[in-house]
């Protein structure tokens, strides 16, 4: 297993997953089925999360094939630029979906504006993701080049290409000014404090601390945690773009990403088992069921693992071989 494997393993998910999500959303709209609508929003949120390691592993894949005979660096950067633009729309779709899921929790269905926004952004994401797939295929599969010549973006592809950032310029933009970098890191720490404050309170109450607090309203903390997470995904991705080689060949960075994926599973375990329903109706003094306590405990531990791994990234650079 190396970073190329990881990239090949992950890169089909955002492309096919967003198509599945869009399909579910369209069917739910024609049939006015709110459960299907929720399913579509969940699929988009999951895809937004999986897109992060997919994007990050691309730099490792690039490092493994750059300079090999027949490999064009221009085609790789074309693919990377396409991925950056698609990522932007994917993450916005994911964030809108989480807002929609929050609304379904409060009033059984998402607001009209939310459904329209998710529809619009997921449509664009599906289109952009298919371009990411095609440009990615072009890197290593000359047999799919039309006319046998190195592909050139014309027509609609040409128009989209003008919106795609040049990766090297984007990198320079992130690291050109040290105070911009300091500002991003500052926000990353503020996001961290927000996450721990919100998630920590909810988890500790589920574990049996502060029992005079009713659990039901504590669920209002979740949007604050998600806001912190949103800040940190944004600043984290921008930092990665600023120093791709620094993070890519760092084993601790990948451990941190794995811990964040596990936290996604943790959230799924909370909402898709009976735990959430039970906790949702708990008043002051009541004790959460054992499963809910396990979920809360592992969430708390995993968040501190994420902080720990994040702190140690800079001590473990160059611990993964490029080839």
């Amino acid at each position: 297993m190396n970073l190329v494997h990881l990239h090949l393993l992950l890169n089909h998910f955002p492309i096919i997953g967003t198509i599945c999500g869009l399909g579910l959303l369209l069917v739910s709209l024609s049939g006015k089925n709110d459960d299907l609508k929720r399913a579509a929003l969940i699929v988009f949120a999951v895809m937004a999360l999986i897109s992060l390691p997919t994007f990050f592993s691309g730099v490792g894949a690039q490092g493994a094939i750059r300079g090999l005979p027949g490999v064009s660096n221009a085609l790789i950067e074309r693919h990377e630029g396409a991925a950056m633009l698609a990522m932007l729309f994917m993450e916005i779709t994911g964030a809108l979906s989480l807002i929609g899921l929050w609304q379904t929790h409060r009033s059984l269905k998402p607001a009209r504006w939310n459904v329209l926004a998710v529809l619009l952004f997921s449509l664009i994401t599906v289109g952009l993701m298919s371009r990411v797939g095609t440009t990615g295929g072009d890197v290593r599969h000359p047999e799919i080049w039309s006319g046998g010549a190195q592909p050139v973006d014309t027509g609609i592809a040409g128009i989209i290409a003008t919106f795609e950032p040049a990766p090297a310029k984007f990198t320079d933009l992130m690291i050109g000014n040290k105070f911009w970098w300091a500002f991003m890191m500052d926000l990353h720490f503020i996001g961290l404090a927000l996450i721990i404050g919100a998630v920590g309170t909810l988890d500790l109450r589920m574990l049996g601390f502060f029992k005079d607090l009713p659990l039901r309203p504590l669920h209002q903390l979740v949007p604050w945690a998600l806001a912190g997470f949103g800040i940190n995904v944004t600043t984290g991705v921008l930092a990665f773009i600023g120093m791709p080689g620094f993070y890519t060949y760092d084993i601790v960075f990948w451990m941190k990403m794995s811990a964040i994926m596990l936290l996604g599973l943790n959230a799924a375990a909370f909402y898709f088992t009976n735990s959430f329903n039970v906790v949702e109706h708990m008043g002051p003094g009541e004790d959460a069921p054992l499963l809910a306590k396990w979920i809360a405990g592992s969430s708390l531990v995993l968040w501190f693992v994420v902080i720990t791994l994040g702190r140690y990234i800079q001590s473990y650079t160059d611990t993964i071989k490029p080839r």
Binding site: K178, F179, W181, A182, M185, D186, F189, I190, L192, A193, L194, I195, I196, G197, A198, G200, T201, F209, F210, D212, L213, P214, R216, P217, L218, Q220, L221, W224, P284, F304, I307, T308, R311, Y312, Q314, S315
Partner: protein
Amino acid sequence: MALPLFLQSIEDSSFSTWMRESESPFAFYFVLLFHTFGLSLLVGANSIIDFRLLGFMRGIPLAPLKRFFPIMWVGFAINATTGVLLLTAYPTKALTNPDFYIKLTIIGFAIWVLVTIRKRVFDDTSLTEPEMMARGANLARWSLLLWVGAISAGRLLAYTYRYVTFP
């Protein structure tokens, strides 16, 4: 201006040298990690109290949030301790940087605001929730502002120093 020699003496001590130069993951970065843990406990819990005092998450009863204070004091104790250790590792770097004094001043005010919130809002158990919020809203605004300032000043220490060690 000549730098005071005690900075050099601290740096020459075996503990300070070990903190800076050890390859062990349990040296400098371990202390820095706990400084981050302490931050998350203190600022995380305090920000939830602040947002609640400002009228967000009104479903959560205010009075039981008093239970957060021990957690915040643990966070503060961790950070006072680890802060001294970090200062021992790089005394010249910190003490020659005006930003370091700005950071300490901001933290001083933030803790003072926190203690005032405790006294004026939480210690008087006869207050109703609207009364608690009326008394605490302004303090909460200052608290949030000061903690953002403290974190920012702390982060800036890594980018604004003049000397790393005694020249």
